[in-house]
């Protein structure tokens, strides 16, 4: 393919204006709903809204208040638990699923379909279905336990179990999505590798540990970073399953921002919390871009 050459029509002046005209509609919306809001969020964090509606400059007080807010630390901790609970398990499951589906499995298309389907369902529908599973006494979980003579339990109403319940649900929702990246990577692997290993008499597990797994490392890293970013965005289920409760035990940073802004109506503090979330997302994205950059050089 020839190297792309820039388009040229008409006078140099027109050619310097033309691309900007093409960009204009998208630029207006991006500025209005991404760039301006980011700057406005930052600006807002230095003020406090008094009861009469007036804003007063208070410097870093909002940040100080955030660092002293136990709920802030609790939601950050919950986010970490949520990420650690969902990501390694769903990645491991995704890898196992991909290895299975990549083989000569009878009914392979059906199995792959079963794994992937949760990905396309709305989180809010998923939450509704799982809400029923966890319903005390009548829910599927308690009915299964009932078969073994165990008593019902308020799974989502108990601080000790609520997070685990949500983690299991999200693993179910996400594993199939991660699977497709492993599947793509596995299909790129040269079949000679496996043939050579078979000739050498290497066992399945040995081959996986020494060849497949290391070769899939870039995919694993890539999926992991994406999963971290996702774990900070995913809060839909909290709205109908727990409202962040009991006692903030299941609340996550974005859900707390939503509560502070729209239930407690404290916009400056919500902005301060948003800055923390933006910082986390930017760091995650920088790691991702640094990694993508490296991958491009390898190819």
């Amino acid at each position: 393919m020839t190297k792309p050459s820039p388009e040229r029509w008409g006078s140099p002046l027109w050619m310097s204006v033309y691309p900007w005209l093409l960009l204009l509609p998208a630029a207006v919306l991006l500025i209005a709903f991404t760039h301006y809001p980011i700057l406005a969020t930052l600006y807002e964090t230095f003020f406090v809204t008094r009861r009469n509606g007036q804003s007063t400059f208070i410097g870093m007080d909002n940040y100080r208040a955030m660092l002293e807010d136990p709920v802030f630390w609790q939601v950050l901790h919950n986010n970490a638990v949520f990420a650690l609970g969902t990501i390694p398990t769903s990645i491991a499951l995704a890898l196992v699923m991909a290895l299975w589906v990549n083989r000569n499995l009878r009914g392979r298309a059906f199995v792959r379909l079963a794994y992937f389907t949760p990905t396309i369902l709305p989180m809010i529908a998923v939450a509704n279905i799982w809400l029923f599973f966890y319903t005390p006494d009548y829910g599927l979980l308690d009915q299964l336990r009932g078969l073994f003579g165990l008593a019902g339990h308020n799974w989502l109403g108990d601080q000790r179990t609520v997070m685990a319940c949500l983690i299991v649900m999200v693993i179910w929702k996400e594993a199939g999505f991660f699977m497709i990246f492993y599947l793509a990577a596995l299909q790129q692997m040269p079949p000679e590798l496996e043939e050579a290993a078979a000739v050498e008499g290497a066992g399945t597990w040995h081959f996986f540990r020494r060849v497949t797994f290391p070769l899939l490392m870039p995919t694993t890293l890539f999926v992991a970073v994406n999963a971290v970013i996702n774990s900070f965005k995913l809060v839909d289920h909290l709205v109908i399953m727990t409202k962040g409760g009991p006692n903030n035990a299941s609340s996550l940073l974005l859900y707390y921002i939503y509560e502070v802004a729209f239930t407690f109506q404290d916009r400056p503090y919500a902005a301060t919390l948003t800055m923390t979330l933006l910082l986390i997302l930017v760091v995650a994205a920088l790691i991702k871009f640094a990694y993508l950059e490296r991958r491009i050089h390898y190819q």
């Binding site: 310097s16 033309y18 199995v111 809010i124 965005k233 997302l281």
Partner: protein, 269 residues
């Protein structure tokens, strides 16, 4: 791989697949049987569509469907136009500040509108469009992901095709329309599927900016309908849940390959 290992793996793969289908199977079971059977799985339980009828009558789901359809169409249509124009500028023109502008576009991949809910709410309310479908759509209309994907596609268009069109006297916009857009068909399909699925399923932002039946999409309508204080039967709620996810589920079953490939491209951006 030994044969015994292979059989074992097949059994495990099938077992996991069946486990994975339980939540969905349960939703359909509960939606299609009388409430009395919602928790007892008797294979002889009578089938019924009563739950769907009741859900449909108890909440304005017809309106929610229309709202969601209008929402995803509005977003997709604007995205396609805006992203095509912007991607064309980035892919085929050299101009001062291009790299900086492109970086500023990519910023939206890091900081998505989903997390800027506080300020975007303020923006939408300043524009006076709160509680309308355009209010839900506005933050998503200029998609960095769409611009990025289409820019890549346009960059790979051979110069010969462009030169041939230019010799025939086509203008820049005509070339975009006659050469680039047709060649980007598979990218448009991939982007379209991801965009429609995303906005069909999106919840938090629509929940924040809508407040009435006239603008609520299906997901928000479902949440309002299923709230515990409404005291609606489980079976009716699951019927509503099935109604919410069914169109996308059917589309997925029909076009599995395209869906999987599109989702993968979206993830790999």
């Amino acid at each position: 791989m030994t044969r015994r290992n292979g059989t074992l793996a097949s059994v495990a793969a099938w077992f996991l697949a069946l486990v994975w289908l339980v939540p969905l199977a349960y939703a359909f079971w509960s939606a299609m049987h009388p409430a009395a059977y919602a928790t007892s799985f008797n294979p002889l339980a009578p089938l019924t569509f009563e739950n769907f009828v009741r859900a449909w009558q108890q909440a304005p789901f017809a309106r929610y469907y229309v709202n969601t359809l209008m929402l995803v169409s509005l977003i997709l249509a604007t995205q396609l136009v805006l992203c095509t124009l912007a991607a064309y500028a980035f892919a085929r023109f050299t101009f001062r500040g291009r790299d900086l502008a492109f970086f500023l576009v990519l910023l939206q991949l890091m900081i998505m509108p989903d997390v800027l809910i506080v300020e975007n709410y303020r923006m939408v309310s300043a524009l006076g469009v709160l509680d309308t479908i355009p209010a839900i759509a506005l933050p998503y209309m200029a998609s960095a992901f769409g611009i990025f994907l289409l820019r890549q596609t346009f960059k790979s268009v051979p110069n010969e095709l462009v030169d041939a069109a230019r010799i025939e006297g086509a203008s820049a916009i005509q070339i975009l329309w006659r050469v680039y857009v047709p060649l980007g068909k598979s990218t448009y399909i991939a982007f379209g599927l991801v965009s429609v699925s995303y906005h069909w399923n999106n919840f938090l932002w629509p929940l924040i900016v809508t407040n009435s039946v006239n603008s609520r999409p299906l997901t928000v309508g479902l949440a309002v309908f299923g709230a515990p204080e409404t005291g609606v039967d489980w079976s009716v709620i699951t019927a509503a849940t099935v109604m919410t996810m069914l169109p996308l589920l059917v589309a997925f079953l029909l076009f599995q390959r395209q869906f999987v490939q599109s989702f993968m491209r979206a993830g790999l951006r």
